[in-house]
């Protein structure tokens, strides 16, 4: 079972090797910082943020690519990038950091410090101090034997745990960084000579980066080519601001770029390299700069997991009262379906993040902006929505069917009402039948909403 629950490509790689390697490689001892997925047995690594891991279905699968679409000023996406690298150092993985803008050594100096047990509780309590005062001490009446046991909290532990917490206000200590094994690729240092690179219709910088990654993978044995090494490890690749003009690419500069396929070809070859090795890759792409939307969708199709960040700085959403506690929205655009027909899509779709002084948190913003505009829903329906655990909640079949039938018939209707914000006249005779029907609305259009609420004749 151990061989089955780890990554499938591991079996593929060990088979063509020699007989001794096949026997030794098939039974995989567990690698630090990884765990098999509950759903399909795929090997997962943490992305550095336990909240993000949960949204991505438990973690990032080994052999896949995580694409972060940068927010406008690249503040929060670089933070997630650093979380990923910091997690790699804490788990003892090998890092490969590539950048065209900053020296990778400088990036590593800015990694956040991992938090340990008691520190984490203190940090959390600072953030929630006002809440803890309101909760009184609840003494257990029946299960009083369990009163004095420590509360179960998902906190950080030793480095053999999956997923750690970090303190953003402090830097990782020098000893920890020095003890980590990492490779660096800094584009201005690599592109000094133009000789001896075969042209493969790719950008020069991308070609060099691909050759570098392939060399690290094959020399360090991440693709199973060194069967003598018993201790397997994960290679974490981080590439910053791919596609920006600093890499020599012009997809961010022009509407019809000349080298439109450079980045997509790079991503395809990178995907091939990742699938055949024990590695996980994070790339950040400034997709808000890409004018050609076709390129954005192609980039998304070639990546496995796509997360988009949208910060509120300078946008009109900053003034929205719904978002006043948060710094931006996080969109999970795509989650891969690996080795299975379905994927573990989380139910919540409206996610926002905030960066407190020490901690980066992701929370679900209540989808109540639709409920506030009650003119879209008839008043009886919003009563149904407000109930706890209602069968009509967002995402349920009844809700979607109602929307499909209701909005399809009265779209112009609803939009007109939203614009004018007119209050609805209740006819006063009560009964869900009457209040739920759009036919009773006061401008006289007698359109019925068929379907589950159409009890009236």
């Amino acid at each position: 079972m151990a061989a089955l629950t780890t990554g499938s490509f591991l079996r593929k790689v060990s088979v063509p090797g020699s007989g001794a390697a096949g026997g030794g490689g098939a039974r995989l001892r567990s690698i630090a910082g990884t765990r098999p997925s509950v759903q399909n047995g795929q090997l997962l690594v943490s992305a550095g943020l336990p909240a993000l891991d949960q949204l991505l279905g438990g973690g990032l699968a080994v052999g896949t690519l995580l694409l972060i679409e940068e927010d406008k000023y690249n503040i929060y996406s670089s933070l997630i990038f650093k979380y990923f690298l910091a997690e790699g150092i804490v788990c003892g993985h090998t890092l490969l950091v590539a950048s065209a803008k900053e020296d990778p050594g400088d990036i590593l100096q800015e990694l956040p410090e991992p938090l340990h047990d008691d520190n984490y509780k203190k940090v959390l309590d600072e953030g929630r101090s006002h809440k803890s005062q309101e909760e009184p001490e609840i003494s257990m009446k029946i299960a009083w034997r369990y009163q004095n046991l420590p509360q179960m909290e998902a906190g950080p532990g030793t480095s053999s745990r999956f997923g750690h917490y970090y303190d953003v206000s402090k830097r990782m200590s020098q000893e920890v960084i020095q003890s980590a094994k990492w490779h660096k690729f800094f584009l201005p240092e690599e592109i000094t000579s133009y000789a001896n690179v075969e042209s493969c219709a790719l950008n020069h910088g991308y070609t060099k980066l691909l050759h570098f990654i392939q060399r690290v993978i094959s020399e360090q044995g991440f693709d199973g080519s060194n069967p003598q090494k018993k201790q397997k490890n994960i290679l974490r690749i981080g590439i910053q601001s791919l596609g920006s003009p600093l890499w020599g690419d012009d997809i961010c500069c022009a509407d019809t770029p000349e080298h439109m396929h450079s980045l997509t070809r790079f991503l395809y070859v990178l995907r091939g390299l990742l699938r055949m090795s024990l590695s996980a890759c994070i790339i950040t792409v400034p997709s808000h700069l890409i004018q050609n939307k076709a390129v954005t969708s192609r980039i998304r199709n070639l990546s496995d997991t796509v997360v988009g960040l949208e910060s509120f700085i300078g946008s009109e959403k900053e003034a929205n009262s719904l978002y006043k506690d948060y710094h931006g929205l996080i969109h999970i655009h795509q989650i891969p379906r690996l080795n299975s027909l379905i994927c573990d899509v989380s139910d919540t779709k409206d996610l926002a993040f905030k960066l407190q002084r020490k901690v980066f948190t992701i929370e679900w913003v209540q989808d109540n902006y639709l409920r506030q505009e009650r003119n879209i829903y008839p008043p009886g329906f919003s009563y149904l929505l407000k109930q706890k655990d209602s069968a009509w909640g967002e995402g349920s079949l009844q809700h979607s069917t109602f929307l499909m039938s209701f909005l399809a018939k009265t779209t112009a209707f609803a939009s007109r009402l939203v614009r004018h914000c007119e209050p609805l006249k209740q006819t006063g005779s009560g009964g869900i039948r009457q209040t739920a029907e759009p036919g009773m609305w006061h401008d006289g259009r007698r359109q019925r909403a068929p379907g589950l609420l159409g009890i009236a004749t």
């Binding site: 499938s8 490509f9 079996r11 593929k12 399909n40 075969e198 042209s199 493969c200 219709a201 691909l210 050759h211 392939q214 396929h261 997509t264 070809r265 991503l267 395809y268 070859v269 995907r271 091939g272 390299l273 699938r275 055949m276 050609n292 939307k293 076709a294 954005t296 969708s297 192609r298 199709n301 070639l302 379906r337 690996l338 080795n339 299975s340 027909l341 379905i342 994927c343 899509v345 139910d347 779709k349 995402g395 349920s396 079949l397 809700h399 979607s400 929307l403 499909m404 909005l407």
Partner: protein, 259 residues
């Protein structure tokens, strides 16, 4: 394969249709389950399958295939399945030795030509003629997916030429089937993809579109499946029949899906 989908299409592994080009599209949802369905369907129907997989590795299809009841490794060993793994070949092209002739050499060169890929397909599906191999029913070409070729720099016209050549060989000459998947991106302005999809839709006899729900995300229903059948030679069904079915894909360890 999904028995419910077989019922909707009125086919079964005992009597599959021949000489057809089927187009699979997906919009806002993942149409991969259709590819898995057709792969297992044709393997169970005892056909010789050439599978050009450009986006995922062999083990992915193998594991899903086991859940659907076919063993890809065994099929490959007995010669029923010819599997072309795009990702592995690309890595070999770029980092391997130059002397090996390779079907994906268009990645290295900037001139986009899918002739070598077509020759690979032709060699795989044409019966060898020495009479020693067991006879399969008819050859099938399965491509997953064609939109990736556009991302790699191949022009849409070249992809259309490739499909035309494959259809001429597989459908008309060898009386087999061709099934291809194309991503639909009607929200974005990917004109090449739109042109490719329209042209292929015009040539196909059966179009299966997997779409996400119009109203957005829903937990219980994953999307809807539109089946568009174009009768070519039967005068009585000359209008396209269109079916709309809501579907939800469930994965159970005993490998059945409910549509």
């Amino acid at each position: 394969m999904f028995p419910e989908l077989n019922n909707l299409l009125n086919v079964s592994p005992d009597k599959p249709e021949q000489g057809k080009f089927t187009l699979l599209c997906d919009a806002k949802t993942d149409g991969g389950f259709l590819v898995h369905h057709f792969l297992s369907f044709y393997l169970k129907a005892n056909c010789k399958v050439c599978f050009v997989a450009l986006l995922q590795s062999f083990s992915h299809y193998n594991i899903v295939g086991q859940k659907l009841g076919v063993n890809l490794i065994a099929a490959r060993d007995r010669g029923q399945l010819v599997f072309f793994e795009g990702l592995k070949s690309t890595v070999e092209v770029l980092f391997g030795s130059k002397e090996q002739p390779n079907t994906l050499k268009f990645i290295r060169e900037s001139s986009s030509d899918l002739k070598s890929l077509y020759e690979f397909v032709q060699k795989a599906l044409t019966p060898s003629g020495d009479g020693s191999a067991t006879s399969w029913k008819f050859p099938v070409l399965l491509v997953d997916d064609l939109s990736v070729l556009l991302s790699l720099g191949v022009e849409a016209v070249a992809v259309l030429d490739f499909i035309q050549y494959c259809r001429a060989t597989v459908c008309c000459q060898l009386k087999g089937n061709v099934v291809a998947l194309v991503h639909d991106s009607d929200q974005t302005e990917d004109e090449e993809n739109a042109m490719l999809m329209n042209a292929l839709g015009h040539q196909s006899s059966l179009i299966l579109r997997a779409e996400g729900l119009v109203t957005g995300f829903c937990k219980d229903v994953h999307g809807q499946l539109k089946i568009l059948r174009r009768g070519l030679l039967q005068p009585k069904n000359d209008e396209a029949e269109q079916w709309n079915t809501l579907l939800k894909v469930i994965e159970i360890p005993c490998a059945r899906a409910r549509i």
